[in-house]
Symmetry: C2
Subunit: 452 residues, 2 copies
């Protein structure tokens, strides 16, 4: 009888899953690796989809970081259009459904990585099934939207949801010349920002002719002949011949929950700092899993591509025989609307108060370059710190080109637990094409230290 190789099964062929697989392959040649992917693609840039819709990225194939064939050449047995529909923990087997062959089969595993990702949150209102209404969470969905835009030549677009995806899609629609309305149920766009900073984003949207409606929950979609005609909100009817819904995502954790794995915030699969679930030999990573938040000291659901890659790597290192621990996130995120860059890290004022922290805040309006240097843009920084200790708690940035990535300085400082005073004297890079002599993030910290 042949001795079976140790077998690793990956469920989900995108960022987290394939990072894990590649990392294991790098460290161990003696493990059999099987990756199940229910779609047709592996390792693609989900975050790039709005820019494909915008037309900035000409071909969807540019978004593929690594094809199934490349993974196979790397010794990973990628099985496309094959969905894992069950998990038999007693027998250590997955139950797979090959959608092409319409065949169900079992595959044993020694170790298993759940990397099933997330799906768009749905809007259960009348008319949702009308043609011309899209979500954007996969290459096929993006292709369908792009096809619709090319074929139907819509003139009026509505975007439901004012978060990251919402404003990225709004940029895409404006780039294509569509009259665009952004519809947000909450009080403000970009709920991950405090209202004062979100106001700057709303202003940028309006300056680029996006109509912004807040406090406008969608009640229904009005249709004509099975096609979208308008979005119905308490503020009235917004005519639209194409709609994208981007109101957040939720974890694909059904498999885990059905098997009795512990789940956390928003039903995400709970993992420890090694990406182990509550069940020995079962790991999870990426948008289906939770992650520890360094400032909150607890696990949260904060699905982002960058975290998915890191958790995948952690999984892979541990499965490859190393002992790797993920120190957690600090809540960093970035996007843009046209030339307006938007970034945040740490806790917002709201989040800090909810966490019971005494928070103080400081704002700075400064420039991305020295004020006299051509191309200098305005930027606003909001900095937050704990009143009693001076420890930094977070920052938010809204500003022109070059503003956003400055959030990394604060994110690094948060990870290191720096105080305001320590932050103020950081040796940050200055030359006129790059910054005023005091970097805007430091100006905000100085304002906050009440010594400015």
């Amino acid at each position: 009888m042949a001795i079976r190789k140790e077998r690793l099964v990956i469920v989900g062929g995108d960022a987290a899953g394939m990072s894990a697989a590649s990392q294991v392959r790098r460290l161990r040649s003696d493990v059999e690796i099987i990756a199940f992917e229910r779609g047709a693609f592996t390792s693609y840039a989900l975050c790039g989809l709005p820019y494909y819709v915008a037309g900035y990225v000409a071909e969807w194939s540019q978004l593929i970081a690594r094809t199934p064939e490349a993974h196979r050449r790397n010794g990973i047995d990628v099985r496309l259009r094959t969905e894992v529909i069950g998990l038999d923990l007693a027998r250590r087997e997955v139950i797979a459904l090959d959608h092409e062959q319409r065949r169900e089969y079992r595959e044993p595993f020694d170790q298993l990585v759940l990397a099933t990702g997330a799906r768009p949150r749905e809007l259960a209102v009348p008319g949702r099934d009308a043609a011309g209404i899209f979500t954007l969470h996969g290459i096929e969905e993006a292709q369908a939207l792009v096809d619709w835009l090319a074929r139907e030549r819509p003139q009026r677009a509505a975007v439901v949801g004012g978060g990251y995806i919402g404003i990225e899609i709004a940029e895409a629609f404006r780039a294509r010349g569509l009259a665009t309305t952004l519809i947000e149920a909450g009080e403000q766009v970009m709920p991950m920002l405090d209202p004062d900073m979100a106001e700057l984003v709303e202003r940028a949207l309006r300056e680029e002719q996006v109509t912004v409606l807040t406090k406008a929950p969608v009640e229904a979609f009005a249709t004509r002949g099975g096609r979208i005609r308008a979005v119905i909100t308490p503020a009235g009817e917004i005519a639209a011949d194409v709609v994208v819904i981007g109101i957040g995502v939720e974890p694909n954790s059904e498999l885990a929950r059905a098997t009795g794995l512990v789940v956390g915030e928003r039903n995400a699969v709970h993992v420890d700092d090694r990406c182990r679930t509550s069940e020995p030999g079962i790991w999870a990573a990426g948008d289906c899993a939770d992650v520890s938040h360094r400032l909150l000291g607890r696990s949260v659901y904060f699905p982002l591509g960058t975290t998915a890659n890191k958790q995948g790597r952690i999984c892979g290192l541990n499965l490859g025989g190393r002992d790797a621990r993920f120190p957690g996130i600090v809540g960093t995120a970035i996007t843009r609307f046209g030339d307006t860059e938007i970034a945040r890290t740490g806790l917002s004022e709201r989040e800090a108060r909810v966490a019971g922290l005494s928070v103080i805040t400081g704002h700075a309006r400064s420039t991305t370059r020295s004020g006299y240097f051509p191309g200098a843009s305005w930027m606003t920084v909001k900095m937050l710190a704990e009143e009693s200790t001076g420890r930094l708690l977070g920052a938010q940035i809204v500003g022109g080109p070059g503003a956003g990535k400055r959030i990394d300085t604060v994110a690094t400082a948060l990870s290191a637990g720096l105080t305001l005073e320590e932050f103020i004297y950081l040796d940050l890079a200055y030359a006129p094409p790059f910054s005023p002599v005091w970097d805007p993030v430091v100006v905000a910290a100085r304002k906050l230290a009440r010594e400015a």
Copy 2:
């Protein structure tokens, strides 16, 4: 008899001195503040001069952050064209020479801040006095150069010195359409970078039609009728009708040395972390002073505008009754040549070896944005760490727009004493217009951790 107010005298009206003065004024209204400035300007952006020469900044007045009048309105007695030529410690008086009135007088002080700045290092070779040879360390000098360019319409420019100023002036000359030769005595341009990274800068210079000569010490300037005609080097004669010498600066510390104050590296006035000199009541800040280096654990001469502002602030806070300490620099600097951004922080490989550290290095070639995103540029990162501990030691970056300011992430990590492993999992901002999913600085750290 009237009781005299406490009196603070500032020697030098630029970044460090006027930062100190302004900070004191903010904290204390009961102090008389006199600032002596031998030139005609206060608080101007020395670092902006090359861009004024380039024509990017149309008027020199744009470089003035705060005029003498503005300082006077703020209650600071600014005395222009008045040089402090002596220091009488016994009587606690400065000896001032008013160049306009040709009058010498004494002024008593209780506290004194030396902020006398630096001057360009000289090149003592034959022909140095020829017309058309400039240094660039003040508005008057920049005006003289700009006048020469306008009046004499030179066609061939030579820049002596391949450091920050040298390459900034090379950009300025190219922007004005001059045939430009960069002449460096040492083995490479940008001696603050390791040779492998400096090579990338040389390539960028050559791609923009700058002729780069290294190992070419200037032996003499050839003149015709008292005007520059050529630069003589061992590599031959380089024809030039305008020359800028930018071979570094040295501290204006004569006053301090004549008074017996302790000086440090390169004769810079030695200060402690509160910016106190060896003499009670005498403080120093900015380009005339040294500064502690957090990684080397000793004081160095590393004159930069950003440090001058910070030391000025430290001085001012302490003089204003606070207890402020400057934690020191980590050796961060940035510049650019055209679209090529150049940044460094921490120790170079050379510096680390000189300091007796066992250094390991890693390189990454990556992109400023996601590779598929329009406007993505190549960038190279070199990361350095201590072999035994994994502690980060420094980084160098050369790359396209958006590359350089990433050095701040490393600078912050250096200040916090992060290790490679800690650095790799930082929660840095990712979205396709801003970064690949792993930021290039992290890719370099991963390479260095030999796990990439």
